[in-house]
């Protein structure tokens, strides 16, 4: 039961982020919401790889009582960690692009509220 808590956290984070993106009108607030959703997804990936009683997937940093032969069952899965690293970097790139676009929008529109940033409609 207690090991399901990270999954509940994931669901809560995604729900909070989605709430911000759906109901907050400020574009920077929406970017913050996107970051929260992304944190939730990253946490989800890391939690997937976690194994109870496992240890970090660093080969040179094994505990002294573990021989390399019984690594497979004992190590936390490394692949989701690699995925998460990639996802973090992509997330920052996307956020930087969003924010630079937001600054340019502010220069032209004088506002960042989504109900006013809508010259393109119909």
């Amino acid at each position: 039961m207690i090991y399901n808590i990270p999954f509940f956290t994931v669901v809560a984070l995604i729900a909070i982020g989605m709430y911000a993106m759906l109901f907050k009108r400020n574009l920077i607030k929406m970017a913050i919401g996107l970051t929260i959703v992304e944190s939730g997804v990253n946490l989800f990936l890391i939690t997937l790889g976690y194994r109870k009683g496992g240890f970090a997937p660093i080969f040179t940093d094994l505990p002294p009582d573990v021989s390399p032969a019984d690594i497979p069952g004992k190590m936390v899965l490394p692949v989701p960690q690699a995925l998460t690293l990639t996802s973090i970097v992509i997330g920052v790139a996307v956020l930087a692009l969003i924010l630079s676009l937001a600054i340019n929008i502010y220069r032209h529109y004088g506002t960042l509220e989504s109900e006013k940033v809508r010259r393109l409609r119909e």
Partner: protein
């Protein structure tokens, strides 16, 4: 080392390296930069054609990164593929051909269209091509996600390229936020699938697929995210914004990026989930298709901005493809005999859509280039001064509206007939919408090209004309010889869609 063995990697690597080389060369000379970009893309085009030829002749090609041999998918110590695998079957090859061809033509167009500070433009342009090609070539779900994000970021930066008009930033912001939410959905469902099967390779997942509840949740997330990126109504609102505000040829090159998402959608439905796909999904695709056709055509009729009007028409064309593919998927799941025809119509229409709407976007870009005006209400009588462009627009109009003997008609008649087998109402709606599409384009032609000379302007420069003429020639060729195109280009893609077993077997070895 035989260069032919490394084609799949080279096709991605050449534009990727050139993309980051371009800003450096740009400091030296602008001409040299143009030449380097053009040569790199032409080389990519040639290599892509060799690759496509190879795939169509010899079947599925595999390229494994980092293994001792490029075809060793499963390492000797492991039971499943763990390396990055590029897998190219007929469908991928078909999509690669479309992407590279359209990018090349778009590049030639951009040489005269993009004037100031072009270095960044070409970097982003090549990165967008890399993203598309990566999505189409990869055999790995996580790579698909990464390349999806590469495409989205590059495309958003390109849409906002004319940053002095504020509305471009607005369109780009909407595009990037919507696509990164879609991408997060994709990442989440990759996590679900990985948690269940410990696999990321698409063929391996397809083999292990058991259709549990988790698989269904992943299916819904993947499906809705890729349908969003493909521009299916009612999630299409970002598409007219993005296409309408993008500079010149980028509107055209954005069509293959949506087509790449459509490819991902078909890959998920036909290959990964194949027969265990939930029966509701074909119906959902058909509904998306009908809504896209209807909303796209009716909304296009009332637009006043030339590019935005064509963008809504592009939504309708997406609808035709989705309609045909939905019917094909329905037939595929129930082993009906019209399946091949429907899929053939859908894939052929995908190519035609890129060509027809692409030509219209190029003409619209030419009109904006020559007059500096986007509003249809202020334009008029351009045929007096832009004769070639007007004729090219007529070709695009006839093709996109599906007038015989153009290519649009050839694919649409296949779609009508196959859709008729499922329900006559579907094909009636499709035909009516096609007639309305003609009315939509007549509106542009009447308002912009005919009438007294209202706007003073000159004919567009030669590189722009050259790429438009190349597109028009392709359209006419496709229109006059549809059987050849279907036999040599479309049928391998359709076979690849139907024959998911071969896709799995190519990676997983004997036994599926």
């Amino acid at each position: 080392m035989n260069i032919m063995d490394h084609l799949p990697a080279l096709v991605i690597a050449i534009p990727l390296l050139t993309a980051f080389l371009t800003p450096l060369i740009d400091r030296v000379s602008r001409k040299a930069r143009n030449a380097v970009v053009f040569i790199a893309l032409a080389l990519t085009f040639i290599l892509a054609i060799l690759l496509v030829q190879d795939v169509f002749d010899n079947g599925i090609q595999i390229y494994v990164m980092g293994a001792s041999s490029t075809t060793q998918t499963i390492p000797t110590q492991a039971a499943v593929p763990i390396r990055i695998v590029l897998e190219i079957d007929g469908l991928s090859a078909f999509m690669v051909l479309i992407s590279v061809l359209i990018s090349l033509l778009g590049l030639i167009y951009s040489f005269s269209d993009i004037k100031e500070r072009g270095g960044r433009f070409y970097t982003l342009f090549l990165l967008m091509l890399v993203g598309m090609l990566g999505m189409e070539l990869t055999g790995d779900l996580f790579n698909l996600f990464v390349f999806l994000e590469v495409t989205s970021i590059a495309a958003a930066a390109l849409i906002a390229y004319e940053f002095r008009r504020g509305s471009t930033s607005e369109a780009a912001l909407k595009y990037i936020i919507i696509s990164s939410i879609g991408a997060l959905f994709v990442l989440f469902s990759i996590g679900l699938l990985y948690g269940e099967y410990d696999l990321l390779n698409m063929a391996a997942i397809a083999q292990a697929m058991q259709s549990t509840h988790i698989d269904k949740i992943a299916l819904v997330l993947l499906f809705s995210a890729f349908a969003l990126k493909a521009g299916a109504a009612p999630m299409h609102m970002w598409l007219p914004d993005a296409y309408g505000e993008a500079p010149g040829a980028i509107s055209m090159v954005l069509i293959p990026t949506t087509a790449a998402s459509m490819y991902a959608l078909f890959r998920v439905c036909f290959t990964i989930y194949n027969e265990s796909l939930h029966a509701i999904i074909p119906a959902v695709i058909i509904i998306f298709g009908l809504l896209s056709i209807f909303i796209g055509v009716t909304m296009a009729l009332v637009q006043d901005d030339i590019k935005r009007l064509i963008s809504f028409a592009a939504v309708a064309e997406v609808g035709y493809i989705l309609l045909a593919m939905g019917v094909g998927l329905y037939g595929f799941l129930n082993s009906e005999e019209y399946t091949v025809t429907a899929l053939r119509g859908g894939m052929f229409h995908l190519f035609n859509d890129v060509l027809d709407i692409g030509l219209l976007f190029l003409v619209a870009g030419g009109v904006i280039y020559a007059t500096g005006e986007r509003s249809l209400n202020k334009l008029g009588g351009l045929a007096h001064s832009m004769k070639y462009t007007s004729v090219l627009f007529l070709v695009g109009l006839a093709a996109a509206a599906g007038l015989p003997p153009m290519n649009g008609f050839a694919s649409k008649i296949i779609i009508y007939e196959s859709v008729y087998k499922v329900s006559p109402i579907l094909s009636i709606i499709a035909i009516l919408a096609s007639i309305m599409m003609l009315a939509v384009f007549i509106k542009i032609f009447q308002a912009v090209f005919t009438g007294p000379k209202l706007t003073e302007c000159r004919e567009v420069p030669k590189p722009m004309l050259a790429s438009m003429i190349a597109l028009a020639a392709l359209i006419i060729f496709f229109g006059l010889f549809p059987d050849m195109v279907i036999e040599h280009l479309v049928d391998p893609a359709v076979n690849a869609l139907m024959n998911y077993g071969a896709y799995i077997q190519a990676v997983m070895g004997v036994g599926t």
